[in-house]
């Protein structure tokens, strides 16, 4: 009995050690100067679930980055939670040594800080490189009466409030894109928020809603099979799979919403590290295999330097603030 009590005590001690070590996490890498960066593996935080669009993009780009980074491995860590802010917070608070980075798609930096709950703001990071840009698109059933966005606008002006669209949540890029469209075209559409892009596609196929807004990737299968068609490109870039669909601006409606993905690190990263990583991203985006994989997801490879990406983040942050205010989500 005494022996088993002692055993229990030991196991508990080991247990608590394990638990605390989890919370301490990986410390800064020891040794090495910035000149030989990187000299150990790099942790790439993806603040969303594995299997999602950003996760796929990150893993694809990383496969082409590793050869450029002294063959060091870049390990993806899916730290989801809090609409991407959980993983973002852990990167913002990490040592600015280039061994912990975040692969993000806007939201955690350009939307969430507006709610005032994050411990960081949009400029508490070092933007490293823009990787890709993806437009938000509006899909309808293939047998829908409209073939162009103008036809939909004309119909909506004749029958206000008759169009319900599925979004992936209020305040998400899809809903922001539609709000901007409504304002620019002077129409009124009704949003029905769902939890995931799969659910929006199901709702559209099942005739529960008249349209669905989201990233092109969610609609690819149903467009290929002839069940859905892309009615409008609410963004400014095009991939070959929907290049014939005009953007809103080409259709005379002054609005555009893209989702920009890129890499950021904690504030205070040295120029050497930023340049090394940005060069690796640029090299990766020249690999035909990487390009093909990105394109198959409907996003458009779109390299940008740290400064360019920083400018994107700032302008998205400002624009989103205006829309969120109009939606009544922030005061």
């Amino acid at each position: 009995m005494i022996a088993s009590r002692a055993l229990a005590a030991i196991t508990l001690a080991v247990a608590s050690l394990l638990v605390t070590s989890c919370s301490v996490g990986a410390g800064p890498q020891s040794g090495g100067t910035e000149a030989d960066y990187p000299n150990s593996s790099i942790e790439a935080v993806v603040p969303y679930d594995a299997g999602g669009a950003t996760d796929q993009l990150a893993r694809t780009v990383i496969s082409g980055m590793e050869p450029e980074l002294n063959e060091q491995s870049v390990v993806v860590l899916n730290e989801s939670g809090g609409a991407g802010t959980s993983g973002m917070t852990s990167v913002v608070n990490s040592e600015p040594n280039g061994y912990k980075l975040a692969f993000i798609a806007g939201g955690p930096l350009t939307v969430q800080p507006h709610y005032g709950k994050t411990s960081y703001s949009y400029d508490d990071v070092t933007p490293i490189a823009r990787i890709a840009t993806s437009p938000i698109v509006l899909a309808v059933r293939a047998d829908a009466p409209w073939n162009t966005i103008q036809e939909l606008v004309a119909d909506l002006k004749a029958n206000p409030g008759s169009f319900r669209y599925a979004s992936t949540g209020v305040g998400n890029p899809a809903s922001i894109a539609m709000e901007k469209f409504n304002a620019a075209a002077g129409v009124d559409t009704k949003q029905v928020p769902f939890k995931s892009s799969s659910e929006t596609v199901t709702a559209l196929l099942g005739k529960n809603v008249d349209g669905a807004a989201g990233l092109p990737q969610g609609f690819t299968a149903s467009v290929k099979s002839g069940d859905l068609k892309i009615l409008a490109n609410l963004g400014s870039v095009k991939d070959q799979s929907y290049e014939k669909v005009p953007t809103l601006k080409e259709s005379g409606i002054d609005a555009s919403t893209d989702l920009t993905s890129g890499i950021v690190g904690p504030k205070g990263l040295s120029n050497e590290v930023v340049t090394a990583l940005a060069d690796a991203v640029q090299a990766s985006l020249k690999d035909p295999k990487v390009l093909e994989r990105i394109s198959s997801s409907g996003a458009v490879p779109d390299f940008g330097t740290g400064e360019e990406y920083a400018a994107d983040i700032k302008s998205d942050f400002d624009e989103n603030g205006i829309v969120l205010k109009e939606l009544g989500l922030i005061p």
């Binding site: 594995a50 496969s63 928020p193 199901t202 099942g206 529960n208 809603v209 994989r293």
Partner: protein, 506 residues
């Protein structure tokens, strides 16, 4: 059709693919046994390796893991009341009680058999009726989900032994917890205070492991000198008896159907199917009073259902290109990265992949049955281990498991918090089952009810206008009517008997 299946088996029997089935199933069972570690964590760790494989081999491997986890999750539920993964939480109710009575072997055996049958039924549905079932999945909209959730909530009456009033209180708490986080329609933050983590609500795996696993450990420490000590020594027989098999036949049949259908509901998946099956079994049982005290029907049905649902969740993926749960969306991304878009045209564009994966799933099922039955005798030896050693292990494994949900310590605190809640619930006699059921269904009910209102112009008429939701309402009304009627009759019979005895007495 015959040619296609033959093509499938020729692909599945390719040495690399065969190895993938075996490795996937084995790995899945191991991961399933570890509490909290589920298919999502395992598959995301393996993702980089799959990029180097043929897409067919990669999917076969991952599908094997998914099936294996569903099998393995049962083991610790039965032996330690620690759900190996979320879907096995129901098994922790009656399976664990069976183990306490020295019937751990039959409980594990019947789960293995039920899982095999359930998954096979769902596979047959996938092979022959995938397009029709996918069509059905698409026809169901928010009004049907809302009514399905409502029907599910009626099952609270059948979950957990003890006072009905306490079950209702537990369920009310579950419904409240489901509202924590972002409002699904307006996007407002509710009950989150300054916490960023709470924005997404609480993770069901952390809640379940806390309430059941950690709560049970704490409770057993309190009782360690009496009851718990006794349980851990009793191992008993390994195989189910003929009577066990007879008793389980109908639950397995019903579980197969329930699981196959629930797999078609977005976000439904394993846990919902096993909870629904448990409720249904208790409703149909001739011995409802046995439930919660070690009824084999309460193990056979839910275990069958969760394996059937994990298999049938492949239907929307393969025939529509729509992933309905996180695990399936991981498989989806593997296909996309390889330049294959799953969807209605997958069958014609990549027949070897489509049929190869299906054939390998048949093989995987057989592998799992062969793998798990002989293991039963070995696994139940865990019961011989002293609780003093086992308890800290369980807590550490659970915490590591919940850490992997999103690589963050937050969920460890959630699990510990619910461990304490679970401990007090047990002391005061509140069943945790209804809390978990209401927690899962609460989110589905709220979201789909409010979506329906948006679709129906803020009117309730939409629920009556759609045949699907109307049928579900009819079932709910019948269920309430039947229970009320039988309760009233029972009371009359009792008062009648009392009156008679008074007459005799005078």
């Amino acid at each position: 059709m015959n040619d296609s299946i033959l093509l499938g088996f020729s692909v599945a029997l390719d040495p690399m693919n065969l190895l993938a089935v075996l490795a996937g199933c084995l790995l899945g069972v191991v991961v399933g046994v570890l509490p909290g570690l589920g298919p999502i964590t395992t598959i995301s760790i393996l993702l980089p390796f799959t990029y180097a494989m043929e897409p067919t081999t990669a999917i076969i491997l991952l599908a094997g893991i998914y099936a294996g986890v569903m099998y393995g999750g049962t083991v610790t539920s039965v032996l330690l009341k620690l759900p190996g993964e979320a879907a096995s939480v129901v098994t922790a109710i009656d399976g664990y009680e069976m183990a306490r009575k020295g019937r751990a072997g039959p409980a594990l055996g019947i789960s293995a058999i039920g899982s095999f049958i359930g998954a096979t039924v769902a596979l047959i549905a996938l092979t022959f009726f995938a397009p029709a079932l996918a069509e059905l999945a698409v026809k169901l909209g928010p009004p049907e989900y809302a009514m399905l959730a409502l029907l599910g909530l009626l099952l609270i009456a059948y979950l957990g032994a003890g006072a009905f009033a306490k079950a209702v209180v537990a369920a009310a708490i579950g419904l409240f917890l489901a509202t924590v986080g972002l409002d699904p329609i307006s996007g407002d933050a509710r009950f989150v205070g300054d916490s960023l983590q709470l924005l997404d609500g609480m993770d069901v795996v952390a809640v379940v492991l806390g309430l059941f696993g950690i709560g049970e450990v704490l409770f057993s420490l309190r009782e360690r000198d009496s009851e718990a000590e006794l349980v851990s020594k009793k191992v008993g027989r390994v195989w189910p008896t003929k009577k066990d098999l007879r008793d389980s036949a109908a639950p397995i049949a019903r579980g197969s159907v329930i699981g196959t259908l629930v797999g078609l509901v977005p976000g439904g998946g394993g846990l919902l199917s096993s909870l629904l099956s448990y409720g249904a079994e208790r409703r149909f049982a001739k011995n409802p009073e046995e439930f919660g005290k070690g009824a084999i029907q309460g193990v056979a049905g839910p275990e069958t259902a969760n394996n059937a649902s994990s298999t049938s969740s492949f239907i929307p993926l393969l025939s529509l290109g729509i992933p309905f749960n996180v695990t399936i969306s991981l498989l989806f991304s593997v296909l996309l990265i390889n330049g294959i878009t799953p969807g209605p045209r997958l069958v014609t564009e990549n027949p070897d992949l489509f049929w190869g994966v299906i054939a390998s799933m048949y093989l995987g099922n057989v592998v799992l049955l062969i793998l798990s039955l002989p293991l039963v005798g070995l696994l139940i030896q865990i019961l011989r281990v002293d609780m003093a050693v086992l308890s800290p292990f369980i807590i550490v494994l659970s915490l590591v498991g919940v850490y992997t949900i999103d690589n963050n310590t937050w969920n460890m605190w959630v699990a510990l918090f619910f461990g304490v809640v679970g401990y007090f619930m047990r002391i005061w006699g509140f069943p945790p089952g209804p809390l978990v059921l209401a927690f899962i269904l609460g989110g589905l009910l709220e979201t789909s009810l409010r979506q329906s209102l948006l679709l129906g112009d803020e009117g309730l008429l939409i629920f009556l206008q759609r045949p699907g939701s109307l049928a579900l309402i009819a079932v709910s009304v019948l269920l309430i009517g039947a229970s009320t009627f039988s309760a009233v009759r029972k009371r009359r019979a009792q008062t009648g008997a009392v009156e008679e005895s008074i007459h005799v007495g005078s």
